[in-house]
């Protein structure tokens, strides 16, 4: 089936179909190097769960993978409507991949709305599995199909599998004591079974999952398992599905180790717990629920046995306020939010800058401004993180590049916070937060040592010989001030948001002192030890550098691979530290004739780069709530090179 063959342009991100084999007496089995599947249905159809399960099966099988959940902000938009469509895209391969894929090879459409909302992304030749039971006249009219797209020839270019998923599911569950409606609810598991057959996925994990999920309702668990198996058997027996596919484990793509699949928000949560352990400090989260950051609050709330305190505050301001209070008391303090929450927290972030206490501000960026697109991704909070406060209030910024990298980025943000006694922004986004990929589980003994020394005694001698404690006497190397926590005898001191005298920390309105303190706080952040930036150019001939930050790493790298495979030299560098920039950034930029900066905003990093390095960087932007597609980026980069 040609639809499953990677196009030539995509070879760099995945090669062509391999050998064919035919099991004795069975159907054709074809070997693929990679597949992109999109499950789409109504918000209530359980598409996210279906996608999650297929992902887990795929991960445990050992493929490399990358996922893109995409769902509406409404919990239950009106059934059968276009705004109510929820989808989950999964890209898996026998080699390392970087993105959830540009265009699905297979679309599972659970209703007419799902078909209509997604067909534009599906290339001709792809396979489409539709649940014909939902294609009633009324359901089709609801989304503007006057004639059935299954009959009007509009899908002729695709390989369509019309399957009465609901009827088959209900039939499979006829021995269960379930209403037709309730039995029909398991149709997503039937679809999952069918797809699991098509791609030779292991099934034990899903059956185990269902038994656990419905432990209190064994009847429902068994019904779902029956539907799942019926879907598998349907694939095996029906003639409509003549071929199944194998995607071999990506054994050679990964270094040796133990792996699991992990989403960005989960990796970030684990990173925070790990940071608490490595710093030997209790973790304190002050947070207010907000999409797409709430999962971190949920996850950390489960791990109280690590000494993790989670405080669901009355608002965003109280969330960071409580965290700052805990930081004063010696906790590794964190607040988690998204852009609108950062706006509310700004004044407290400024206070943390002034108090010079360690504090992690985790911003899972989403579409803005204002409420914007709560469930969609964007990178448009960079300048807010960089400058969104009154006065000169520098805050270090760290940005993870992939879902799994959220773990390491959290540790790195914590390192900066506790070493330099400063609030630190950790800028993730909706795409990283909900997307997932395989993660090599680190050896905990190899995690960085983040232990800090609280102040324990006086640090200054007065002219008269008196030994005193000065809360703003700095470490000469890091410029960090001492972290003297309440309960330490003899170090009683007062800190606040009013400008402080250098050293003593007493209130000071002295102009020269303020000038000095402003410059010193800036110098402290500027002096943070950040690894040099590595620009990578295997050809050694590139004249153009593509520079990215955050979650664009996957699409940019995939695009770069395509260009290089087509013989186009291009250099790539990706920033993890946005403030301060790596010290060699200016030198790296100077090596190339052109610098292209793709961002999911209108050029925020480009603005910083142009201002700081006077480099005429080319900005390439997309703010549609979705990650870049590799093909689109490759084209844009090629144009920039040729321009």
């Amino acid at each position: 089936m040609t639809s499953q063959v990677s196009s030539e342009a995509e070879q760099a991100d995945g090669a062509l179909v391999g050998e064919q084999r035919k099991p004795a007496g069975g159907k054709d089995v074809r070997r693929l190097d990679r597949v992109i599947i999109r499950f789409a249905g109504d918000s209530g159809d359980g598409m996210q769960l279906t996608g999650d399960r297929f992902t887990s099966e795929t991960a445990s099988f050992g493929n490399d993978l990358s996922t893109l959940p995409n769902f509406p902000a409404e919990i239950r938009a009106p059934a059968g409507t276009l705004p109510g469509v929820s989808s989950f895209q999964l890209h898996f391969a026998d080699h390392d991949i970087l993105t959830p894929g540009d265009a699905p090879n297979v679309l599972v459409a659970m209703n007419p709305a799902a078909l209509k909302a997604n067909i534009g992304d599906v290339p001709r030749g792809a396979e489409i599995i539709v649940n014909t039971d939902e294609f009633s006249k009324r359901a089709m009219q609801k989304v503007g199909y006057d004639v059935s797209p299954l009959e009007d020839g509009s899908l002729d270019g695709y390989s369509v599998h019309p399957v009465p998923l609901t009827t088959l599911t209900v039939e499979a569950l006829k021995d269960f004591d379930l209403s037709r409606k309730d039995a029909g609810r398991s149709k997503n598991m039937f679809a999952l079974g069918l797809l699991s057959w098509m791609y030779h996925r292991p099934t034990e994990g899903t059956e185990k999952f269902l038994r656990t999920k419905f432990a209190k309702k064994p009847e429902i668990a068994e019904a779902n398992i029956a539907a799942f198996r019926a879907g598998w058997n349907f694939g095996e027996t029906t003639e409509d599905f003549a071929v199944s596919y194998e995607v071999a484990p990506a054994a050679t793509a990964f270094p040796a180790g133990t792996y699991r699949n992990i989403s960005g928000n989960l990796a970030l949560s684990y990173g925070l717990i790990a940071a608490g352990r490595q710093a030997d400090l209790p973790l304190y989260l002050g947070s207010y629920p907000i999409t797409p950051a709430s999962d971190i609050l949920h996850e950390l709330s489960k791990h109280k046995n690590f000494g993790v305190r989670t405080f669901q505050a009355e608002d965003e301001i109280a969330g960071i306020g409580a965290a700052l209070g805990a930081a004063f008391g010696g906790s590794l303090a964190v607040t988690t939010t998204s852009g609108p929450g950062v706006a509310l927290k700004s004044e407290t972030i400024g206070l943390a800058v002034s108090l010079e206490l360690p504090l992690l501000i985790v911003d899972i960026q989403r579409g803005g401004p204002s409420t914007g697109l709560p469930t969609k991704t964007e990178q448009a909070d960079l300048l807010q993180a960089m400058y969104g406060r009154n006065g000169e209030a520098p805050v270090p910024i760290v940005a993870p590049r992939t879902p799994a990298d959220c773990f390491d980025a959290a540790l790195e943000a914590a390192r900066i916070a506790v070493t330099y006694r400063t609030p630190v922004f950790l800028l993730s986004d909706g795409y990283l937060a909900n997307g997932s990929e395989p993660w090599r589980i680190p050896d905990v003994d190899e995690l960085p040592d983040l232990r800090v020394q609280f102040a324990s005694g006086t640090n200054h001698t007065e002219d008269d010989g008196t030994e005193v404690f000065w809360p703003y006497k700095r470490d000469p190397q890091t410029l960090a001030r001492p972290w003297a926590i309440p309960g330490t005898p003899g170090l009683e001191h007062r800190i606040g948001g009013i400008e402080k005298q250098d050293g003593t920390g007493n209130i000071s309105y002295d102009p020269a002192n303020h000038d000095f303190m402003v410059r010193t706080r800036q110098a402290k952040v500027d002096g943070i030890d950040v690894p040099d930036l590595a620009a990578e150019d295997p050809s050694g001939e590139a004249r153009t550098l593509v520079l990215g930050w955050g979650s664009t790493y996957g699409p940019i790298t995939a695009a770069v691979r395509r260009l290089r495979a087509a013989g186009v030299p291009i250099a790539q560098a990706h920033l993890r530290h946005l403030n301060p920039f790596p010290r060699n950034l200016g030198e790296v930029l100077g090596r190339y004739d052109k610098v292209v900066i793709p961002e999911m905003n209108l050029g925020q990093l480009a603005t910083l780069i142009r201002a700081k390095y006077l480099v005429d960087a080319v900005s390439y932007n997309q703010v549609n709530g979705m990650p870049f597609k590799a093909e689109q980026l490759a084209t844009a980069l090629k144009e920039a090179i040729d321009d």
Binding site: R309, A313, G321, A322, G325, P489, R494
Partner: protein
């Protein structure tokens, strides 16, 4: 002093040596306006702290913004002068993560009831182990004289030249409505009463809100004169004492009774006939109804019939304790957290090199 109060206070280390008021004075020059009521409160707090006998390094004062919020700078304890209205939130994080600390919040009527109203009510409902001193001068002082959320209606100020339009909050009513477990009111100039209320607040497990009527001699001078002037105070002030009949006035000639029909409270002249109907104050009553009714006795304009003292002092679970208990329970149930086991949870697979 309640048993639970003792139990929570026991978590805070005691001072090794006897302390004096001087130990609690910082080296910073006090910069309130001469004649400000804040001086009296500072002196009362510094004077009463040695009675608590707590290690002063385990005492923290957290404030917001406003005249009163400079308070922490003058206490030789740990302290944080934070941002406008947010002190209860910051103190919540500190108290809930450090049960070995005695955490005090100093705030004003603007700080606590206007910009920080949300944090105040949520601290009260959670019953975090905080002692909140709300300095109420019924005016914005630091910004030079605008009306505040406790100013009387029609107040002429810089921002309300034709009189303020909005009805004021009654902080005691508000606190009781917000599920506060301890609510008291006192007056800056009555050192003895102030100290007694502070002591009871310190002993209370959970959030204690103490409203302190405080004179701003620059922008709202004499706002509480009726409660301070000996002659007028006799008729204006109702001193609440747990277990005592609520009587006041010259020769205790007036008393508070419950109206049999409406259930509301009323002030009556005490007679031999009605003497046994005089309400006996019960600060520990499970129901907040009577405490709330008492808080409504005062006339918001004239301040006549203003009760002072402890309105409400009940025991209910303390947030910090519950939070700590959950951590202990989690360790008992799941064992102490094992990071390596956590990271390797769920479906894993191994790639052999």
């Amino acid at each position: 002093m309640t048993d639970a109060g003792n139990a929570l206070l026991k978590l805070v280390p005691k001072a090794e040596a006897k302390q004096s008021m001087k130990d609690f004075k910082s080296d910073q020059e006090v910069r309130w306006c001469p004649g400000c009521g804040d001086y009296a409160v500072l002196a009362a707090v510094q004077g009463f702290m040695p009675d608590l006998g707590l290690a002063k390094e385990n005492i923290v004062f957290v404030s917001g913004i406003g005249c009163s919020s400079r308070f922490p700078y003058y206490m030789n304890t740990y302290g944080m002068h934070s941002i406008h209205g947010r002190a209860p939130a910051i103190a919540t994080g500190l108290a809930s993560s450090r049960r070995d600390l005695s955490v005090w919040v100093v705030t004003g009527d603007g700080d606590a009831l206007s910009i920080g109203g949300n944090h105040l009510i949520h601290a009260l409902r959670r019953n975090v182990n905080l002692k909140i001193l709300l300095f109420n001068n019924r005016i914005y002082g630091l910004t030079k004289g605008q009306y505040s959320p406790t100013s009387e209606v029609g107040k002429i100020t810089k921002s309300t030249p034709m009189g303020s339009l909005d009805a004021p909050f009654n902080p005691v009513s508000l606190a009781i409505g917000a599920e506060a477990s301890f609510v008291a009111r006192t007056v800056d100039s009555d050192r003895k009463h102030l100290t007694s209320v502070l002591r009871q607040a310190a002993d209370h497990p959970g959030t204690a809100l103490v409203e302190i009527y405080q004179n701003c001699n620059i922008f709202n001078d004499g706002a509480f004169e009726v409660l301070k002037d000996k002659q007028q105070a006799e008729e204006a002030v109702i001193r609440l004492e747990h277990g005592q009949p609520i009587r006041f006035g010259a020769d205790q000639s007036k008393g508070v009774v419950r109206d049999a029909v409406t259930g509301d409270l009323a002030v009556v002249a005490v007679t031999p006939e009605n003497e046994r109907d005089i309400l006996v104050h019960d600060a520990h009553s499970a129901s907040p109804t009577t405490a709330f009714a008492l808080s409504r006795l005062a006339d918001p304009d004239t301040l006549h019939h203003t009760p002072i003292g402890v309105f409400r002092d009940i025991e209910r679970p303390v947030y910090d304790t519950l939070m700590a208990d959950q951590l202990d329970t989690a360790v008992e149930r799941d064992g102490k957290g094992d990071l390596a086991a956590l990271l390797a949870r769920g479906d894993t697979w191994t790639v052999v090199g």
